[in-house]
């Protein structure tokens, strides 16, 4: 992907940290920097993971066009730092999933009313939501409606966390 193509996704380059997720996948994403340019190492081809991730990145970029009050009420504009952070996380996620040859499932890409970016998957009665707020990346997962016994939450920023969460979602 060329830098000018990144711009078409609507995520300003100055909002995003320089992290080549495909070359440095062990890096734990902490926050999005505003100081450097970002050149992801993606070349869309016939690989289903790369085709999938490009489609998701396109949806992610659309969040930058949402205006305050997008929900018909008092929702905040999706935070640009959160969008940039989600962009990085998705690249790392794609790397982890493709390396492990785990199935690809497309998430819904959305925002919370407080401006966080959210990625959500439903699979076999399981729900996994990843929230990016520009500072941290956290997950909520559930396998039933009982909040105490059938849900948990935690940090989702590391490669190991991504792999564990994805194994839980797609297996069983």
């Amino acid at each position: 992907m060329l830098p000018q193509q990144i711009a078409t996704y609507g995520v300003a380059q100055q909002d995003i940290q320089t992290v080549d997720a495909f070359q440095a996948p062990n890096q734990k994403i902490q926050s999005a920097s505003t100081n450097e340019h970002f050149v992801p190492y993606i070349f869309p081809g016939h690989d289903p993971y790369q085709i999938g991730i490009v489609a998701v990145l396109r949806k992610l970029s659309e969040l930058s066009h949402w205006q305050a009050g997008w929900n018909g009420a008092d929702a905040l504009t999706p935070d640009r730092q959160a969008i940039a952070q989600a962009y990085q996380w998705l690249l790392l996620f794609s790397h982890v999933v493709s390396n492990a040859r785990l199935p690809w499932l497309e998430p819904s890409v959305s925002a919370s009313a407080d401006g966080e970016v959210a990625l959500e998957w439903w699979h076999n009665r399981k729900i996994l939501t990843i929230y990016c707020n520009g500072r941290s990346i956290e997950y909520i997962r559930s396998w039933g409606v009982q909040i105490l016994d059938e849900m948990d939450d935690g940090d989702a920023s590391s490669k190991q966390a991504i792999q564990d969460l994805w194994n839980w979602l797609v297996n069983g």
Binding site: W66, A73, S108, A111, E120, W122, I147, L148
Partner: protein, 151 residues
């Protein structure tokens, strides 16, 4: 102020365009947990009975979907989590009438507006997000009152 009866049906407007609706590969369409997210940890719903059971009243756009919940199912969500002081307490989930003002909504739905709230108010962010999962799951167990339309 009247109470919301346990057997009342609640309508929830779901935007079709915002990624709050997901179509799965098998064709299943469901509202995501984000479709229930609102600021201040209060999720808006409309009481079907007071909308004359006409869900079109709560649509802003013709493409909007309308999902539904049963009040008692919402109230049966027992939520135990940390409060802002990090003490673990039990939250009750309730549905309270919250009529809108004339400038906030059209006449047909003003009286029907209600909010899903936690009591005591204000849990941690993560606890509220668990509630959103529960609401999405409850809605997914019921058929759409109005299916969202994708452009």
């Amino acid at each position: 102020m009247d109470e919301v009866a346990d057997d009342e049906i609640l309508y929830r407007r779901v935007l079709a365009r915002s990624g709050h609706v997901k179509v799965e590969p098998d064709g299943t369409v469901h509202a995501t947990s984000l479709a229930f997210s609102e600021r201040h940890q209060q999720t808006s719903v409309f009481r079907a009975l007071l909308c004359r059971n006409n869900a079109t009243y709560i649509q802003d756009q013709p493409t909007d979907g309308v999902a539904s919940l049963i009040t008692v199912d919402v109230r049966n969500i027992a939520l135990i989590g940390p409060n802002e002081q990090r003490n673990s307490i039990t939250y009750l989930v309730d549905v309270l009438p919250d009529p809108l003002q004339p400038h906030e909504a059209r006449p047909e739905i003003r009286a029907a507006h209600a909010i899903i709230v936690l009591q005591p108010a204000y849990c941690t962010d993560k606890t509220y997000k668990r509630l959103l999962h529960a609401l999405a799951r409850l809605a997914s167990q019921r058929v759409w009152i109005i299916s969202p339309h994708f452009l």
